[in-house]
Symmetry: C2
Subunit: 210 residues, 2 copies
DNA sequence: TGTGAACCCGAGTATTTGCTCGGATTATTG
DNA sequence: CAATAATCCGAGCAAATACTCGGGTTCACA
């Protein structure tokens, strides 16, 4: 099926009409992905559900991977916006509050179209363009690392990287796990409490032992 | 490509010769998966690399999913054996030692054909038979939960489940992350140290506050 | 050593699916 | 109001790929 895609360039939408078309195609892609899963998602089906012709789809997306990658990028961007909004709040000098804020960002992120998120994470193979688009974690980790170095200049850069990795990894894993396996713990906030019990002492100690 | 697979039953290998064939096919599947990735893995290619005919392959595996699922099951089983071997050692009454043993089990597990593990985790879509085959985490979690209830009978069953989830999730996520992103921290043991710093206080406290 | 069962073979078939291309339709510009 | 560009269309091609089937080969066992 999908060969060694040499990314053939496509035209950019310039008029309002075509930008609308692209948007409709992406929305349809999301719906089809969620409903049928990745490998039963075909470009023809997406075009049909979007109400545009297959020809139009290929005007703007050179292949299926590029199509899904575009959607994934948009999704990740939306997540990042939420995280940024939380990370920029200036009052988390207190380590406990900082961790809590991070955690809330993680939980929040998982509330953006969780069904799509699940498909992207579980079914879409991380290959080629998709690998980069789906690599949320490392972006986030770097972001945390930067914040850390800004707020706790005493930390060596190696330590900052390590602590950022631990925080990001655990938050991402725990929230994701809760979403798919124990949604009731999300509602009740139990997961949040438990994660704080795990991460706050760790983080406090990491800051102390500089 | 692959339709709504209605699992058509295939014959079981009974003679030594055919068992050998099945083994060879599975080994080839692993090699092909690692080398070409999931969607460029075709049944025809697997048969060719295994040195058997495509007909023989379909004697024992009804379709591609079943083939990969069989391989995944075998892999998971191998992981579980290692984990069991560690978990059954009787001397971890000390909470710190218990966590350390768990962690070592996690790290150990990731040393079983890590390349294959990576492909299975990152590329193979969790659908149908594959979803179950790849669900290592929940099996492990239940195993930890049982061990926990046996060794710390003071814990309520809800707490045991929660603590097991946290331990399993974090160990799995951290080790996996280290493997793919910072292998040097695996060599030096830094990841292990750091994970212990995170998990031991948490676990000790969880046991104390019964 | 004969016979049926288990096993193996691989060219070929039936589908699926990504994607093109020539031409119609709509917008923009001078 | 041309003329040119942008957009849209969808039948159909080419290639890939999962899977079958009829027939040959090897094994178990009486």
């Amino acid at each position: 099926m999908v060969r060694e895609k040499s990314a053939k360039p496509r035209k950019q939408p310039v008029q309002k009409r075509s930008r609308q078309t692209v948007a409709v195609i992406l929305q349809a892609t999301a719906r089809v992905l969620v409903r049928y899963g990745y490998d039963r998602t075909t470009t023809n089906l997406v075009a049909e559900k979007a109400g545009v012709s297959i020809g139009s789809l290929y005007e703007y997306f050179p292949n299926k991977q590029a199509l899904v990658a575009a959607l994934a990028s948009a999704h990740v961007e939306e997540l990042m916006e939420r995280v940024d909004r939380v990370l920029c709040v200036p009052e988390e000098d207190d380590s406990a509050l900082f961790v809590a804020a991070l955690l809330r960002a993680g939980l929040d992120a998982h509330r953006v179209n969780p069904a799509l998120h699940k498909v992207l994470v579980e079914q879409v193979p991380r290959i080629g363009a998709l690998a980069a688009s789906l690599d949320i974690s490392s972006v986030l980790q770097r972001k945390i690392e930067a914040t850390l170095q800004r707020r706790a200049p005493g930390l060596s850069s190696a330590r900052a990287r390590m602590v950022a990795l631990v925080l990001e990894t655990c938050i991402e894993a725990l929230t994701h796990r809760a979403v798919v396996e124990a949604p009731e713990w999300l509602e009740t906030g139990e997961i949040e409490t438990e994660a704080l019990r795990l991460l706050q002492p760790y983080f406090a100690q990491a800051l102390a032992s500089r």
